[in-house]
Amino acid sequence: MMLRIFFALCSLLLFTTVAHAQNRVTLSGFVKNAQSGETMIGAMVRFPDLDISASTNSYGFFSVQVPAGTHQVEVSYIGYNTIFNTIELKQNVQRSFEISNESKEIEEIVISASSRPNQVKSPQMGALKITAEEIKKVPVIFGEPDILKTIQLLPGVATGNEGSSNFFVRGGGGDQNLILLDEAIVYNASHLLGFFSTFNSDAIKDVNLFKGGIPAQYGGRISSVLDINMLDGNQKEFGVEGGIGLIASRVKIDGPIVKDKSSFMVSGRRTYADLFLKLSNDENVNQSKLYFYDLNAKMNYKINDRNTIYLSGYFGKDDLGYSDQFSFDWGNATATLRWNSILNEKLFSNTSLIYSDFTYNVRVNSNDNDFGIASQIQNWNLKQDFTYYGFNNHSIRFGLNALNQTIRPASLSAAENTSVNSITVDTRQGFESAIYASDEWKVSDRFSMIYGLRLTNFMVRGPGTFYDFDDDGEAIGEQQYGSEVVKNYLNLEPRLSMSYLLNGNNSIKASYNRIVQHLHQLTNTTSSLPTDQYVISSVNIKPQIADQVSLGYFQNFANNGYEFSTEIYYKDMRNQIDFRNGADLQANNQLEGELLFGKGRSYGIEWLLRKNRGRLNGWVSYTLAKSERQFDQINGGEWFNARQDRTHDISIVAMYELSKRWTAGATFVYNTGNAITFPSGKYQLDGSTRFYYTERNGYRMPDYHRLDLSVVYEPTPEKKRFSSSWAFGVYNAYNRRNAYIIDFRENEVNPNITEAYKIALFGAIPSVTWNFKF
């Protein structure tokens, strides 16, 4: 049924292609970086005298229709020099443009580096774009540039615990963010319990975050989409770059395989904290492990002017071990094979075959315990996306998506003669298929919109045993299924985003989206752990559904030198998941009985002021928000604050170019403490003091604030090819003791008295990194 609709749509569009073209011609092609040949995502191609523009898609491709004739065309990209061209268009023309961010080698007419003029004009709202250059400039912990730490400084995005790369968008949960690396789903985006993200910024081209008005081509997570694109590899020449830091070192190699036809990129990173353990004279300690590494690789091959193939992959692993008695490793792997095809100058196609997984393994071998625990979550994903540029003032995207999701929950395999039994927990499988179509329509000079629909079907598949539960979570019935469909969920997800241009520099926008989520992460600690169990929608677990409306005002000042935006939103979330007290989430075939289902709502207002040009760059962001949950069995059925609910959240990021060689950076954050459950009394049991809790998340952690500083020194290169820089940083510069944990205990001297104490994780932490490039 879905396929039939899809093919009907395809043939309709292919047919109209022929019917439509008359005295208009199409200019299509790619926008590339002049130095590396990397395709540029979201670059603008504009005809100023016609007031017609188009932006490049995720593969750097654009297509735009204009009346035949000779026209001025300008091509721009954030931080790059805008180029102007005069182009004669008698018939359809395919042409690529190269733009540069280096001021010296420009032949064409140049104005100063451009900003993001389309934030005002584009109907898309709730979207933020960050380039790799920006990520590298923001000071962060341990001197490691980090995408996830940088997006936490944007409005509407809250941090998890201190130093954590977990993030929460507009009051949503940490598992409600769709994190894509070259289209592959990344399940666990953090290393070392969250202090680092899995994204090595050397390998990243750009990052797009959608918080609201999420386009129809995305689905599966209800709060946000973080779409990360890896670099393709330099098409023109070989390059090596890297860095040596206190915690980790990195190296990247890229270059052409066949010049202007094929290129590759390989980037790796490893921490070496464990090397210090080797210095210990305790055998147990010096045989211990504590490290992580990442490997990103990508290559592409241009078959001809119309077809290109990309192959990209990521592999990362954390390894933790104590002596030979205990080891614990976890990591993600992704692989993406893509085929870009320009079917004709108006129809762009991309076909992707994607694999991704996340696994963890525990090995225990001490005393008479000898066993292993293994868990895996994986998916295979086939995507077909089309973009059709054939209609005037419309750009139409449509496609389909088939994703097979498999969860192998932690199972225990014990050796012979050990004091534990092997336990196997049923594998769960779900098949998610979706078709979507959306149209970006310029209705008039001032009014434009993106409207779309996504139809998602989720099949819970056997084989397996499925249970029914009573209100107390006790199993009251079970049913065996073979390889058949156990349950089917069909959902329609409308998406809409509109903008109205008040004058050339300001606009108002409104959006609505519904999104459905079928994969759920069960976290019962304040920091998410690699061992957190995942579940898919099933008989008992209904899909999470979010409806979000938002309204915004956008304005650019001083010839796009400054940009200002404010957005107000309301999000309604259904079928949210929490647990019963003392829930047994490990190796439990009746896990679903431990879950509670409720609803959530969040609302807030966000302000962002950015300065894009000049010696001083950066932004100020402020969020005023509320996020609540309601479960019949929690807090007496009353609404309570979500843990990540923060009333105020402020970030200030400033980068200042002191001279050609010295650049200084500073980041200041302030936020209301997380909502938390503290005791409201005490009693005594079994001779010890116990704490009496009355309401869920009724208290607040103390306010959090912190200042980070950095200085980058780039000496004038001695040789032409080789350049290097030193990055010095201080995390938490004024040594604020922010509370990481607050707990309660009996006083050591007089056990009748109880006291509260806090633990701070990090004081001021200096860092130094040496970066090189040749």
Binding site: K682, Y683, D686, N752, K758
Partner: protein
């Protein structure tokens, strides 16, 4: 399962963290008082004490508010009732003639200020221990001592165990509960003691081992799985009605005494090499 690797992570972090610890003042609300019932009945032939109290504010100088005027009664398997009366000496309610038996069902009924709190429990069969020993482990250059109890876990039934420990004649404290989810029917070793306990080579360790019911296990397991990293700490689920805090347990108990100094010559297992 988390038990196996969280300690390793926590140990690593603790080295970083302990220096950053600081006593703070927090303004906590004073909630309405709740009744707390601790009725830990065993087959052990000594005086059984049931403690009844109320919660007190966090900053109160008293650890609890003792209730002296409750009506406390246990009904046995043949509908025989035992009244428990308040004793100043015990700060709780006692009945000297009462002993619980294996496999028998008992009902607790407590009346405080006209409110009735009830619970019913059956004493599980004891699981005999067939050898005891000691264990020495080296963890990050420190030596720790543990008492070990070995026994055959009965196959095909869910068994739950609770341990309370007294070190060097200090009062008994809750140590841990275990279930047999991962080792049903196997020859099991329970290792008693933790890195927080100051068990030394010269310590005298007394262990009370109870075979408990699923409901009592649940109560204590919820208690022991609450830590500062928990998403939302809550009061453990009580098996007593009407919103009372605390629990009613009827268990078979065995007491084991370890004099570590007499053990060291012959039976300490050393895992440090």
């Amino acid at each position: 399962m988390k038990r196996f690797f969280i300690p390793a992570i926590v140990l690593l972090l603790c080295q970083l963290l302990t220096s950053c610890e600081e006593i703070i003042d927090i303004n906590l609300n004073d909630a309405d008082q709740r009744v707390v019932i601790e009725a830990n009945i065993t087959n052990f032939p000594n005086t059984q004490v049931i403690y009844i109290s109320r919660t007190v504010p966090f900053n109160d100088a008293r650890p609890r508010e003792v209730v002296t005027d409750a009506e406390v009664q246990i009904t046995g398997p043949r509908n025989n009732t035992f009244q428990f009366v308040y004793s100043d000496q015990h700060q709780g309610y006692i009945n000297r003639g009462f002993t619980a038996r294996e496999n028998a069902t008992y009902s607790l009924r407590v009346i405080v200020d006209g409110e009735v709190y009830e619970s019913t429990e059956t004493m599980p069969m004891p699981v005999p221990v067939d050898s005891v020993g000691m264990l020495r482990e080296n963890i990050f250059n420190d030596t720790y001592y543990f008492a070990t109890l070995r026994f055959q876990d009965p196959a095909g039934v869910a068994n739950y165990y609770k341990y309370n420990v007294s070190v060097d004649d200090k009062p008994f404290k809750f140590f841990s509960v275990f279930n047999d989810k991962f080792n049903d029917g196997l020859y099991v070793t329970h290792q008693i003691g933790s890195v927080d306990d100051d068990i030394e080579m010269t310590s005298k360790v007394v262990i009370r081992r109870q075979s408990i019911s699923a409901a009592v296990y649940r109560y204590w397991n919820e208690f022991q799985s609450t830590n500062p990293g928990s998403a939302a700490p809550a009061n453990p689920t009580s098996n007593i009605s009407n919103g009372a805090l605390g629990y009613f347990s009827v268990s078979s108990e065995t007491v084991y005494e370890f004099d570590f100094s007499t053990y060291q010559e012959f039976s300490i297992q050393d895992t440090s090499e």
